[in-house]
Symmetry: C2
């Protein structure tokens, strides 16, 4: 019924470790999220994120028993790649992936919180911009920032976006937002946990593209 609830993220254990297999299965359901934005322009972003997921999965598949948690992968790569790490392998892919995940999280949270441009209540530019500033802007040079500004014109109406999230069904906005809130219950702590891990392991980089 809802794109997001069909495959809800798993609850985190007390030690906040993220199970690799479960994470990959859950996160693979998110790229269609970008189709909900309606325009072909966003397929570029979808493939970037799909690329990240493929890269992480390829490492996991090499040795599932060794890479039980995401942290197992990042730590193993720190050993193997020494000088190049963390700008390498699944560590790099997850570094960028988590930013895309944060973008989605802040966008959904902002919609759930009812943030709105009162003059244009059916536009979501204000929510997308909030998410972009929070998750990505600092990692983008001025040209990509300009491209973002242009792409913003392709954003869908709020009503159409919510409808797409409900897989095209005519549900009330409030019901859709209730689903969004439910989705965020496990999703947000998962994204937070990955950020925390990158910070703890000193794996975060702030170069711009």
């Amino acid at each position: 019924m809802s794109l997001l609830l069909d495959n809800q993220f798993a609850e985190l254990p007390a030690d906040k470790s993220v199970d690799t297999k479960t994470f990959l299965d859950n996160v693979s359901t998110l790229p269609p999220f970008f189709d909900c934005l309606g325009s072909k322009v966003f397929s570029v972003i979808k493939s970037d994120i799909n690329g990240n997921i493929t890269k992480i999965r390829a490492v996991y598949d090499q040795d599932p028993a060794k890479y039980v948690t995401l942290q197992d992968i990042v730590e193993a790569e720190r050993e193997t790649h020494k000088g190049q790490w963390p700008k390498v392998g699944a560590t790099l892919a997850l570094m960028w992936l988590k930013r895309g995940l944060r973008f989605i999280q802040v966008l959904l949270q902002s919609l759930a919180d009812g943030d709105r441009d009162e003059n244009n209540p059916n536009l979501i530019q204000v929510n997308i911009t909030k998410a972009y500033e929070h998750a990505l802007k600092k990692y983008h040079g001025w040209i990509v920032q300009k491209i973002f500004s242009a792409a913003l014109f392709a954003a869908p109406y709020r009503s159409n976006f919510l409808k797409a999230l409900s897989k095209g069904q005519e549900v009330k906005d409030e019901d859709c937002l209730a689903n969004v809130r439910l989705f965020l219950v496990n999703y947000t702590p998962t994204v937070d946990a990955i950020y925390e891990m990158y910070s703890n392991l000193n794996a975060e980089l702030d170069y711009t593209v």
Copy 2:
């Protein structure tokens, strides 16, 4: 020595048919052309074009004896896909690929012809814009056109671009442009022949993305 001459396009036969295998081999050397533009921004375009090539090659590989020329593929798909054709399969991939090839051709020709912004002789924005207007603009909606305008800021200096085409070697601009002209001798008629085929078979579409 020169990116373009390492794998020059083959001369066309009198009937202007394009040999599929030779074409695919030649055209596969072109995506690195977009690396010569210097910025990561253009990797999006590189993957779009790589995607086109992969799609055409996949069809060819199914039956090389049947698909000797590009026209063999397009005609076979016209039979197989009826209602959806030409917005389908390798026909669609080649439709877009030829536009990217035309873009490259007009850009190189414009450089070879010495088109320049006299006030900024080391910028190639004027050449890129000419190529874009000729090959792609009409197939892009206003948002992608705006994205193009933003991406234009990422264009390299003329001198750096020519150097990259010469694989980083310090050759004189004139020597590099002589290589460009040599490359265009077979390249331009190949691109022309594909356009002519699409026109003859009524396979061209003008929807925008």
